[in-house]
Structures are given as C-alpha cells and as structure tokens.
C-alpha cells in the first residue's frame, strides 16, 4: 500500500506529529500552526531527511538558532561537552527523524518505512516541499516541509 497524496490529511498529520514530538520529548509548547506564512528571517538552522519503503519522500525543517538551543537544553537537560552549537545541530537531526517517523507511522500503521540519516541544511537554505507548515513556538518559528515522490498517486481535491 502506498500513501495517497491527500493534502489536508498530510498537512494535519504533519502538524500533529511535530506537536507531539515537541511536547513530549522537548517539553516545548506549540502556540499556533498555519500554512506557510511570510519568509522566516534571522539566523536559522535546518535539517532534511529522505525516507523510502511503502512510499518515498522527504521531510525538512528549520528553526531559528536561539530556539533550537532552547530545545536542545530541554532535550538534554543542559549543555553538553560539545557546546550549544553542536547540541542544537544534533537536536535538529533528532527532531527531523522523530517527526518524520511519527508522521509516517500514523499515516500507515501496516507498512515498514526506512528513514535515512538526516542531513543538515546549508546556512540560509529554507525547507521547501509540497506541504509547508509553520508552527509558532514560544519564541520562534518552526518551518516544516513535506514531499512525496512522484510515484504517489495524488488526490488533491477536497
């Protein structure tokens, strides 16, 4: 079984997965979620991850650096030996991995997906994809971008 490109469903699942991950693992709260708003500005870091299996695609996300450092400190309970910079990079990687895994397993509980190792986005590069969601955290904006590979049949009308 492969995923059907149902935009509202995917959009909702993406938001849900990200919210769940942020709240349970990073002890952060999500204020509002919206479709892509204005372009985020400032010093931001990001990561992206390819997945394959029942269907293939990519998830990318970005966050301003200060917020990422805050999440890292929540996640690890302090700053590690490698410093805040390294912590926030690894947190972006884990966040991407978990959001993607959570979303895919909620979408299709009977298939097995393989997630590649997440890669960091280049500085200044913002995530792009077929579905883009912005989540507003206490003091920053998390951008999520999700795409399915062309092989997925699209049902875009709702």
């Amino acid at each position: 079984m492969s995923l059907v490109f149902d935009r509202p469903l995917l959009s909702e699942q993406l938001t849900m997965a990200a919210t769940e991950v942020l709240e349970t693992m990073f002890f952060a709260s999500v204020d509002t979620a919206s479709d892509e708003a204005e372009s985020p500005v400032g010093d931001r870091i990001g990561a992206s991850l390819d997945f394959h299996g029942a269907c293939a695609g990519r998830l990318a996300l970005s966050l301003d650096r200060a917020t990422a450092e805050g999440l890292a400190s929540n996640f690890f309970g302090g700053v590690g030996e490698g410093g805040a910079e390294e912590d926030s990079q690894s947190v972006m990687v884990e966040l991407t991995n978990m959001v993607c895994g959570a979303m895919l397993s909620h979408l299709d509980r009977n298939s097995i997906f393989c997630l590649d190792t997440p890669k960091q986005l280049e500085p200044g590069q913002e995530p792009t994809g077929e579905i883009v969601r912005d989540l507003s955290l206490e003091d920053g904006l998390l951008r999520l971008a999700f795409s399915l590979q062309e092989s997925a049949p699209k049902v875009d009308a709702h």
Partner: protein, 147 residues
C-alpha cells in the same frame, strides 16, 4: 539494587537523552554502557554482564532486528530483556520485533513516564525496588538480613 543498562543507538544525542530519561525516572542504575550499533553492542555484551538492553532499529552495520536475533541465539544473552526504542510505530515493525524476541517497544516520541513503565514491566521491578505485581507472598524485597 542497581541495574546495568546498555543503550544502543547510532545517535549520540539519542543515547544522551535516553540516559537522562532513565536517570530522572528514579531507577538505580549502576552502569550505563553505550554502543553505536548492534555489532558494537554484541562485542561489549560478550564480557559485560548487563540487565537490560535498550536499542534503536535503524543503525549502520548491524541494526536492531539483527541484534535481537543474535541475542536470542546465545545462551547467556537469550534472556536479557530488550526494549526497542524507535520512531517506527507501524504494527508490522512492532510485531516483527516482538516476534524476534524484544520484550518491550517504545515509539518515539515518548514521554519519560512511558519508558519508565516499559522498563518496570520488562524488569518486573519499580524504581523503588518493589516487585511489580507484588503481594504474591514473595519476600524478595527485604534485604535487611545480614549475617
């Protein structure tokens, strides 16, 4: 009572997080051993006597499924409880890991209490050292005898 725990995950960040979650959950942990993949874990388990293994699935060289499979083949590792911690929450994967011999499965994201519960269930003991499902007339909890 102190448990020795092995955490198997290719992400140092995840290992750090899991360790922290166990620390705050109140279990008396003697030693934390860490491995970056199944192969490293098996190598350490050859001489390290641990009480529980927590493992990720997707890892380079030897993944979590192979690790569980290998552990179930060896007499001294056969009964060491394994809890899989993975973002993969699909029924297919959970079923397969349980079938291979993992006793517990925690899907990421998880709240700290969730991992604590799973460890309690799998080890049969609460962080306070009380037997899970106590009241069966066991007198195992009293350690005050000294001779």
């Amino acid at each position: 009572m102190a448990f020795d725990v092995m955490i198997v995950d290719d992400s140092p960040a995840m290992r750090r997080f899991i360790r922290r979650v166990i620390e705050v959950s109140g279990f008396g942990v003697g030693r934390y051993l860490e491995a970056g993949n199944g192969e490293e874990a098996l190598k350490q388990l050859e001489h390290e006597w641990v009480d529980i293994v927590l493992t990720d699935i997707n890892m380079p060289r030897m993944d979590g499924e192979e690790l569980v499979t290998e552990m179930r083949k060896q007499d001294h590792l056969m009964a060491i409880p394994v809890i899989v911690i993975s973002t993969d929450a699909t029924e297919a994967r959970i079923g397969r890991l349980k079938q291979l011999g993992a006793q517990g499965y925690v899907t990421k994201p998880f709240a700290p209490e969730r991992l604590r519960e799973e460890i309690e269930t799998v080890l049969g003991v609460t962080p306070e050292g009380a037997l899970v499902g106590a009241g069966m007339g066991m007198d195992g909890g009293d350690d005050e005898f000294s001779f």
